[in-house]
Amino acid sequence: MSVRGRIVRISGPLVVAEGMKGVQMYEMVRVGEEGLIGEVTRIRGDEAYIQVYESTSGLKPGEPVEGTGAPLSVELGPGLLGTIYDGVQRPLPRIAEVIAEKAPHRRMFIERGVNVPALDRERKWTFHPGDPDTGRKPAPGDTVNPGDVLGWVQETSIITHKVMVPPGVHGRLKWLAAEGDYTVEDVIAEVEVDGETRGIRMMHRWPVRVPRPYKVKLDPSEPLITGMRIIDTFFPMAKGGTGAIPGGFGTGKTVTLHSLAQWSAARVVIYIGCGERGNEMTEVLVRFPQYTDPWTGKPLMDRTILIANTSNMPVAAREASIYVGVTLAEYYRDMGYDVLLVADSTSRWAEALREIAGRLEEMPAEEGYPSYLASRLAEFYERAGRVEALGSPERLGSVTIVGAVSPPGGDFTEPVTSHTKRFIRVFWALDTKLAYSRHYPAINWIISYSAYVDLVEDWWHKNVDPRWRSYRDEAMEILMREDELMEIVRLVGTESLEERDKLILDAARLIKDGFLKQNAFDPIDAFSPPEKQFKLLQMIIDYYRKARELVEKGATVAQIREAVGRLYVDMAKAKFDIPNDRLDLIDELRAKVLKALESLEARLG
C-alpha cells in the first residue's frame, strides 16, 4: 500500500508533505499533480521532507504526494551502453522526443514531469543461453545463485552483456529460454525459490544507495593504462583504484577527464557530468561516436554511458547522479569487466548536499557543508575496487573511480578537497601556474602522488622493460632537484650556477617539454603507448647520464648543447614527430644523441 499525503511547504528543491505516516526513509515519491520525482530525506511525525529532482516552480500546498514503496532505483539490463541519461536515469533523447510530441518548438528544453523508462521496452535483444566464455549452460534442476551467468546478449560491438541471476535469488532453475529475441521485460528463466516460481528477466532494479554485493575485494595489481605520460609513468592509476583530480577553473580538469574516458584501457566507461557545463556533455556526445576505442578499434560510444546533470538542471538530481553512475559501474563489474567511472565534479555534488542540508536547516559544519560530507565521500569512493564477482563462472571485475574536485579559488585546503584526499590513493593536483603557460596536462609533479607505483611496477617490468622503475625514479629526482634549484635561481640568476646544476635545469626542461607536456588534441601525441613512454624517457635520461659524465670531466652545458645541436629539439619534439608505430626512430635518435656526446668526449680528450 502506498502512502498518500499532501504538500504543506515548498522552498526551492525542498518540499514538505503531511499525512505521510509509513513512508520509508529514502523512498522515492511522486510529488504534485505532475508526479515529479522526489526522495524522502527526513521524517518527522507524519511529515516527510522530500528533495525533488525537478523544478518545483508552480507547486502549491495541498497538492498530492504519493509514495512508490521503493527506494530510488536504477534499471539494469542491456541497452545502457551508448546512452545519455539525466541524473535519475531518464534517457535525454527520449525526453526530447516526448516533449516534441506535445510542443515541437520546445524540443530542446527539458520540461518537468516527463516520465520515460531508462531501458527501451520495445527493443528486442538476441538472448543466447549459457556463459559466453566457457559455454557452460545451466540446466533445469540445477541450483542457481546470485551472479550465476544464465546467458548473454551482444549489447554493443565491444561488450557482451551477461545476463545474471539477480542478487538475492537462490533456488532451483526450472526453465531457461532458448536462443531467441526477447525484450528486457520478457521472462528468460524461471527459478523456484522456496516453493515459489520467480520469473527472471533481462532487466532488474537496484537501489542506488546500496552497493551491489560481491564475493571478495582484492588488492589492485594492474595499472589502468591511460596513454597520458605523466599519469602512467609518474602517478599511475590501478584498475580498481581511486583518484581525485582537483584544480581551479581553466586548469584542464575536464580535458584530462575526457582523455581518460577516451583512451584508458577500461572495458566500460561511465562519465558523470555532475553540475558542469552542458556543452561539455554535448562535446562527448558529438566527438565520441567519431572516435574508435584505441584498444578494440570499435566505436567509442559502444563502451560508454553518459550521465548528464548539468549545472542548470535541478540541483537535487545532482546529488543522485553520482549514485546512479556508480551503481551502473558495479553492474558491469559484476559481469567481469574493468569499469572506469569518471565524476566531474564531486564539488558540485557536495554543493548539492550543502544546499539541501541548508533547506533542511541542519547544523552546518565547515563552510556551510553538512557534517556528514566526509562520510558520504568515503562511502562513494569505497564503492571502487577490484573484486571477485558473485556467481559462476568465476570472474574478476573492477570499478576505478576518478573524481574531479573544483576547489573555490583553487584552494586545496577547502573541505571537499581535504576530505577527498583521505579516501583516495592517487592525487593529480592541477596547477594554475602551469595552466597559464599552457603546460598541459597541468598536473603538478611536486605535490601529486600515487600510492600504486609499487603495485604496478611488476607489470611494467614484465610487459615493457625491467629498467622502468630506475628511469622513472631518476627523472623524478631531476624534477625535484630542479624545483629546489629554482629557489636559488630566483635570487642569483642562472649564470652563476655550477655546471652540473645547470645540467639539471637543462634536463628538467627536456623532461617537461619532451615528456610531461602532452597535447590532447594532436593525433599522434594524444595517446602515448607504454612502450613509447618508456623509450622517450630512456632517451632523455640516457642523454642526461652521458652529459653528466662529461660535465664531471670538465665540459660545460653550453658545449654539450652545441655538440647536440638540433638533436635537442628533435628530442623535445619526438613525442609528436615520431609516430606511435615507428618507435625504432626513438632508438635511432637516442643513438645519434649519444654519438654526438661521445665525439665531444673524444675532442675534450
Binding site: V8, S11, G275, T282, E283, R354, L491
Partner: protein, 470 residues
C-alpha cells in the same frame, strides 16, 4: 494555474520581503502584485510557501509599504515577458517593459523569464570561428558562435570599450549576416549605459539591439530578473527566428550582490563571503542559457562582464563564473597602466572552445601550434622579467635575454592595437610569427617542423628570394 487571488494580511516586512498570512493555494515562484494604500503598484514573486504563509520578494523594494491597507494579489502564473522580433531597436526596463516612449510590444508569444534548461542531447557543439579583429582574442583565446565567454575586469578598466569593439567587429567569415545584440544593463552607472547607447547609435546598429536597463539607482531586486528577461528574448530570437544573437550582460557583480541581499534577508546559511551556497547553481541558470541547438540555425553567444572586487580573481563571483563559462578574458591593471590597449592578460585568459573553432578550413593550420608557442614563450618571458628585476639582466643567459625582448615586443606589437583596428586572422597570425622569430628557432618546441618551414619569416623570405631568382 489558478486565477488572481487577493489577500491583505501582511504580518511582517523585512528588507525586500513581505510575509503574507492566511493565503491558500499559492504556488511557489508565482508572480505577485502589491498595491499600496496610495494606489501605487509593485511587483514581486513567491520565494517560499509554508501552509498558509507566503514569503514574497518585492522587486521595487518595500519602502512605504504598511501592514495595513496593503493588497497583495497572487496572479497565478510565473513572471512572463512578451517576446517578439519587434523588440529589436527598443529599450526596456529591468522587467522587460518599454521605457522608450514607444508603443507596447505586440507579443508573438509570452514566455516564463526563468526559461528551462537546454537538453544536452539536443545541443549542437559550437565550432564556428568568430573573428573579433582583436589579436589577443582571435589568436590566443578564440571566440566561437554559441560560446559564453565573460570579461573579468576591474573598476576603471576599459571593459566597455573592449566589449563595444567586439560587438562592432565580430563577424563569422564567409557570412554577411550580422549579430543581433541583446544588451542587459544590470545595476550599472548612467554614464556606462550612455556609453553603450551612444555606441550603438553611432554604429547605426540600434535597430539590431534590444536593451534591458536597470541602473545603479533603481531597485536592486529587479536585477535578479533583468538578465533572465534579456535571455528569454535572446532564446526566442535564436531558436524561433533563426538569428545569431550576442548577449552582453553587465555587470554580473551587481547581480550577485542583489542575490546576497535577498539571501541575507531570508536568513539563509551563508557560503563563502556571505554569498548564498547556491550562488553557483543560480549563476549557472543564467550562463547556461547560451549555445546552439540541433536543427536550428540561430545561436546565442554570451559575453557577461563582471568587475572583480579588488581585482581578485579568487573572489566567489569571478571564481564561480569561471567554473561555469567556457573560458574568460581577464583584463590587467598593470598592462592598462602601461598604456597597452586592450589590456588583456593572455596568460590568465582562456577560451575552452577554441580548439574546435580553429585550424585548417576555419582559420589556418598553424593556428593551434602558434598559439601554444606564444603562451609558452610569453609566460617564460614574464617569469624572466621578474627574475631580471631581482638579479639584473646581465645574470641571465643570452637566450633568456631574447625571451625578455620577445615579451616586450609581444606586448607592444601583438597585444596592443587601436580601438578601431580590425585585424584579420591572417594578419594576427603573421604578426605572431614575426614576434616569435625573435627567438632562436630551436626554442620553438611547440611547433612541428613542417609548419616552421612553411610560416617562419626566415623560410618565407628564403622562399621568396628563391622564387625571385627563378
Amino acid at each position: 494555474m489558478l486565477g488572481v487571488r487577493e489577500y491583505t494580511r501582511v504580518t511582517e516586512i523585512k528588507g525586500p520581503l513581505l510575509i503574507v498570512e492566511g493565503v491558500s493555494r499559492v504556488a511557489y515562484d508565482e508572480i505577485v502584485e502589491v498595491e499600496l494604500p496610495t494606489g501605487e503598484k509593485r511587483r514581486g514573486r513567491v520565494l517560499e510557501v509554508n501552509r498558509n504563509i507566503a514569503v514574497v520578494q518585492v522587486f521595487e523594494g518595500t519602502t512605504g509599504i504598511t501592514t495595513t491597507g496593503t493588497k497583495v494579489r497572487f496572479l497565478g502564473k510565473p513572471l512572463e515577458i512578451p517576446v517578439s522580433e519587434d523588440m529589436l531597436g527598443r529599450v526596456f526596463n529591468g522587467l522587460g517593459e518599454p521605457i522608450d516612449g514607444g508603443p507596447p510590444v505586440e507579443a508573438e508569444e509570452r514566455r516564463d523569464v526563468n526559461g528551462a534548461p537546454l537538453n544536452p542531447a539536443e545541443r549542437d557543439y559550437p565550432e564556428d570561428f568568430i573573428q573579433t579583429g582583436v589579436s589577443a582574442i582571435d589568436g590566443m583565446n578564440t571566440l566561437v558562435r554559441g560560446q559564453k565567454l565573460p570579461i573579468f575586469s576591474g573598476s576603471g578598466l576599459p571593459h566597455n570599450v573592449l566589449a563595444a569593439q567586439i560587438a562592432r567587429q565580430a563577424t563569422v567569415r564567409g557570412e554577411a549576416e550580422e549579430f543581433a545584440v541583446v544588451f542587459a544593463a544590470i545595476g550599472i552607472k548612467y554614464d556606462d549605459y550612455l556609453f553603450f547607447r551612444k555606441f550603438f547609435e553611432e554604429t547605426g546598429a540600434l535597430n539590431k539591439v534590444a536593451m534591458f536597463v536597470n541602473l545603479a539607482d533603481e531597485p536592486a531586486m529587479i536585477r535578479l530578473i533583468t538578465p533572465r528577461a534579456a535571455l528569454t528574448l535572446a532564446e526566442y530570437l535564436a531558436y524561433e527566428r533563426d538569428m545569431h544573437v550576442l548577449v552582453i550582460l553587465t555587470d554580473m557583480t551587481n547581480y550577485a550582490e542583489a542575490l546576497r541581499e535577498i539571501s541575507a534577508a531570508r536568513e539563509e546559511v551563508p557560503g563563502r563571503q556571505g554569498y548564498p551556497g547556491y550562488l553557483y547553481s543560480d549563476l549557472a541558470s543564467i550562463y547556461e542559457r547560451a549555445g546552439r541547438v540541433k536543427g536550428k540555425k540561430g545561436s546565442i553567444t554570451q559575453m557577461p562582464i563582471l568587475t572583480m572586487p579588488n581585482d581578485d580573481i579568487t573572489h566567489p563571483i569571478p571564481d564561480l563564473t569561471g567554473y561555469i563559462t567556457e573560458g574568460q578574458i581577464v583584463l590587467s591593471r598593470d598592462l592598462h597602466n602601461r598604456g597597452i590597449y586592450p589590456p588583456i592578460n593572455v596568460l590568465m585568459s582562456l577560451s575552452r572552445l577554441m580548439k574546435e573553432g580553429i585550424g585548417p578550413g576555419k582559420t589556418r593550420e598553424d593556428h593551434a601550434a602558434v598559439s601554444n608557442q606564444l603562451y609558452a614563450a610569453y609566460s617564460r618571458g614574464v617569469e624572466l622579467r621578474s627574475l631580471a628585476a631581482v638579479v639584473g639582466e646581465e645574470s641571465l643567459s643570452k637566450v633568456d635575454r631574447l625571451y625578455l625582448k620577445f615579451a616586450d615586443e609581444f606586448e607592444r606589437r601583438f597585444l596592443s592595437q587601436g580601438t578601431r583596428e580590425n585585424r584579420s586572422i591572417e594578419e594576427t597570425l603573421d604578426l605572431a610569427w614575426e614576434v616569435l622569430s625573435i627567438l632562436p628557432e630551436e626554442e620553438l618546441t611547440n611547433i612541428k617542423e613542417e609548419l616552421i618551414r612553411k610560416y617562419h619569416p626566415k623560410y618565407r623570405m628564403q622562399a621568396q628570394a628563391g622564387a625571385q631568382q627563378a
